[in-house]
């Protein structure tokens, strides 16, 4: 029977600079996530309007030039 010698526990002191960088990354990720969540909510609301309320036979979709383009 082979006995495995347990490796000594290693503790790494966290680098303060690294923590700041990680915190920054987390903040950025949260920002992106919040935007994505808002977009998803918006999409859900639109989908709700289009597919739940309006009967399909009575509406259709139109592709039109954007207003910003009209102003130019």
């Amino acid at each position: 029977m082979v006995r495995v010698k347990p490796s000594p526990e290693v503790t790494v002191e966290p680098d303060p600079d690294e923590i700041d960088v990680l915190k920054e990354i987390v903040r950025e990720e949260e920002k992106i996530l919040s935007v994505a969540r808002a977009r998803l909510k918006m999409f859900e609301e639109r989908k709700y309007l289009l597919e739940h309320f309006l009967p399909r036979e009575y509406f259709f979709y139109t592709v039109i030039p954007s207003k910003e383009e009209k102003k130019k």
Binding site: M42, E45, R46, L49, L50, F53, L54, P55, Y58, F59, F60, Y61, T62, V63, I64, P65, S66, K67, E68, E69, K70
Partner: protein, 151 residues
């Protein structure tokens, strides 16, 4: 062929090109295709010949109150539900009820008269006139948020 392309280009510049489709997939594909081809942004809108849709370009409480009053009157007359959405510039009203096309047109004609008289102040006259000219109502889907529904 060249002339045709030039014609289409002019229509895009004037903001008059409109493509209707029953299928959402086709509409979204067309939107991306046109954007890629002409390098100008396009929007997706929802249109109908039987559902009453109104647009206001004024972002004030009075405009909202006016739309709510119209919404209540519509619900009383035709039944169904009235929804008001907040858009970046104002409000959109959607009356979720099938209205026969003849009555639908009649409503818009009466609305036009009321706006010209000054009885209705905040509903966009250009939108009503365009609706009557095209024979269908269109609302641009731009960052809408449901803020009011009746009943």
């Amino acid at each position: 062929m060249k002339q045709e392309i030039r014609k289409v280009d002019m229509r895009i510049l004037e903001g008059k090109l409109r493509i209707n489709s029953r299928s959402k997939k086709v509409a979204v594909y067309t939107k991306h295709y046109l954007e890629a081809k002409y390098g100008v942004p396009f929007d997706l809108a929802v249109s109908s010949r039987n559902i009453i849709m109104l647009d206001t370009d004024v972002d004030s409480e009075e405009a909202l109150a006016e739309l709510q009053a119209i919404g209540m009157a519509l619900t009383k007359e035709f039944g169904g539900t009235c929804l008001i959405f907040k858009t970046p510039n104002g409000y959109h009203l959607v009356h979720v009820q099938y209205v026969p096309h003849r009555l639908w047109r009649q409503f818009y004609s009466l609305l036009k008269v009321a706006i010209k008289k000054g009885d209705i102040k905040y509903v966009d006259l250009a939108h009503v006139e365009a609706t009557l000219r095209r024979d269908y109502a269109t609302l641009r889907l731009n960052q809408e948020k449901l803020i009011w529904s009746f009943p």
